[in-house]
């Protein structure tokens, strides 16, 4: 089971931070993700980015989560040498995440 079957996403930058909005397709998907798409799991998945901290904000009214990856861009869009200097591709990256548990 990969995240893209349960949710859609969008990412962008604010200074050195990236945020990734993850939106569940259904209420059941939202509650599954609330339990399994934890800050720890996301931080581990993106560990190569070298974030200082990952925080999850829940938006139950929209069946969505907002993940903020603090320090993920290491200096921000104008300074980072990466192709994806603004984290625009990380929405696509998170959707490839897999879960061992089936909803």
């Amino acid at each position: 089971m990969t995240l893209k079957e349960l949710a859609y996403a969008r990412s962008g930058d604010k200074g050195s931070n990236v945020n990734i909005g993850v939106i569940a397709y259904t209420r059941e998907d939202y509650f599954f993700l609330k339990e399994h798409l934890t800050e720890q799991k996301v931080a581990h998945y993106f560990s190569r980015l070298g974030c200082r901290q990952v925080r999850r904000f829940d938006l139950p009214n929209l069946l969505a989560f907002n993940f903020v990856l603090y320090g993920a861009l290491q200096g921000g869009g104008s300074v980072s040498l990466r192709t994806d200097a603004q984290g625009k591709a990380l929405g696509q990256a998170i959707l490839q995440m897999s879960f061992e548990v089936e909803p």
Binding site: N19, G71, V79
Partner: protein
């Protein structure tokens, strides 16, 4: 009837014919907002202004004004609100007035909003704790001599004041993006500046349309499912007196406005959805309700707001060395391995020339490097794009790198191609320095240049 506000420019470099197209497609538009400023665009304007003191604004906007003239002449009444003024709103206004005058529209009133430039405040008080980098806590003293720009995000109030002066066009410098919309609503409905629920609703509307086509199908996860994608319509927010709104787009345009496009854009570039901070109001997204309201129409209601903080956010930039990046395409067996070796060879050659570069990055695009190997392709690549990016405080070091890249065409493996774009350019790097400033020391000026 709801106030109709369109956005036809999501960033500096967006489709230049979008504003004229939108006012043609939506004849009853009340306001057209155009957003030109990203976090570091001010530093590009600062370089331009060093060379020519009359510049320092988004020059594209003057061409946009020219393209709108036929619609005003045909009787359209829309007013324009834009942050195209950059570092020089007055210069921008003068250029626009010139275009209007030559076209026989000298009756149009152009107002400017100034006071966002706080470079002097920062430079004269570098030890102030508020001016420390919000992300790193670093003191402004560390970059004191290298500061290039510092602008505070102004809010909706001066925009509403400019509209009250009868302005047909309001040109600001740095301004919070949603405030372009909030200013129009605040003026039109005569909201008090502590009517936080209404201001919160309008801020949501502004946030949703500020990036143009990003809410009408662009950047969507499910972009492939759009029926048509060539001419995606730019967004229109129909804002009601209670602050709720409908997001839509002109009929007969490509793209879509639906639950998915709106939810994705709501979450775009935000931090805490329970406390989205703007100069006008701090907004909670947690009470929002979305509802379909016909084809390509989404109703958004329920925003809650509280008083904003005592400080404004400042976006400052400073010189931070030089950078360059070069691309080569490798074709054939073992393309990825060859690309990686070419990257190493290139940096080794710069080293032999006497420059130990401070920061380097080799990416083999196609193999999964763009997202740091999180999505690796499982097959043996037969073609791969080598991208090498470097950064250094010494211009000469970066310059040397740009001169080494092409040597791989003859000394690298067979199958190196795609070098016709020439030597990479050495570009100055501008670091981003977010900090705060007390509202009380920011002197906002609204005026109508004659």
């Amino acid at each position: 009837m709801a106030l109709r506000i369109g956005n036809a420019q999501g960033f500096w470099g967006d489709q230049i014919d979008a504003p004229a197209t939108l006012v043609r497609q939506a004849r009853d538009l009340d306001y057209l907002t155009l957003d030109y400023l990203s976090e570091v665009s001010m530093s590009i304007m600062a370089i331009q202004q060093e060379k020519d003191s009359a510049s320092g604004y988004a020059r594209d906007f003057v061409g946009v004004v020219q393209s709108l003239i036929p619609y005003w002449k045909q009787g359209s009444k829309f007013r324009v609100i834009t942050n195209a003024g950059g570092l020089n709103p007055e210069g921008c206004a003068n250029a626009c007035l010139d275009v209007l005058r030559k076209s026989g529209l000298s009756g149009k009133i152009v107002a400017v909003v100034m006071g966002d430039n706080v470079l002097n405040c920062l430079q004269s008080d570098v030890s102030n704790a508020l001016y420390c980098n919000m992300e790193t806590g670093e003191s402004l003293r560390n970059i004191e001599g290298r500061l290039t720009t510092a602008t505070a995000y102004l809010g909706a109030k001066p925009i509403a004041e400019a509209l009250a002066l009868g302005a047909d066009m309001v040109i600001t410098g740095r301004c919070a993006d949603p405030s372009l919309t909030v200013g129009a609503c605040g003026f039109h409905y005569g909201w008090k500046w502590d009517s936080y629920r209404q201001l919160a609703g309008a801020t949501i509307a502004g946030h949703l349309i500020e990036c143009g086509t990003q809410v009408t199908g662009g950047v969507s996860t499910n972009w492939l499912q759009l029926e048509r994608r060539t001419s995606i319509g730019f967004p229109i927010a129909e804002v009601e007196e209670d602050g709720s709104c409908v997001i839509t787009k002109p009929s007969d345009t490509d793209g879509a406005v639906n639950e998915q496009t709106v939810k994705e854009q709501l979450l775009y570039e935000i931090e805490d959805p329970g406390n989205y901070r703007s100069p006008d109001v701090n907004v909670s997204f947690l009470s929002l309700k979305l509802q379909e309201d016909g084809r390509d129409r989404m109703r958004i209601a329920g925003a809650e707001g509280i008083a904003p903080g005592e400080n404004l956010k400042v976006s400052a930039t400073y010189r931070d060395g030089y950078r360059a990046d070069g691309l080569l395409t490798l074709v054939g067996d073992d393309a990825e391995r060859k690309a990686r070796l070419c990257g190493e060879v290139l940096l080794e050659r710069v080293r032999s020339a006497g420059f130990e570069l401070e920061q380097t990055l080799v990416e083999c695009l196609g193999s999964g490097d763009a997202v740091l190997g999180l999505m690796r392709s499982s097959c043996d690549l037969k073609e791969c794009v080598l991208r090498v990016a470097v950064r250094d405080s010494r211009r000469q070091a970066v310059d040397r790198f740009t001169k080494e890249l092409a040597s791989l065409v003859t000394s690298g493996p067979q199958g190196v191609t795609g070098y016709t774009t020439g030597r990479p350019k050495v570009r100055p790097v501008f670091g981003f320095w977010p900090c705060l400033i007390p509202k009380s020391i920011v002197q906002t000026i609204v005026k109508v240049p004659s």
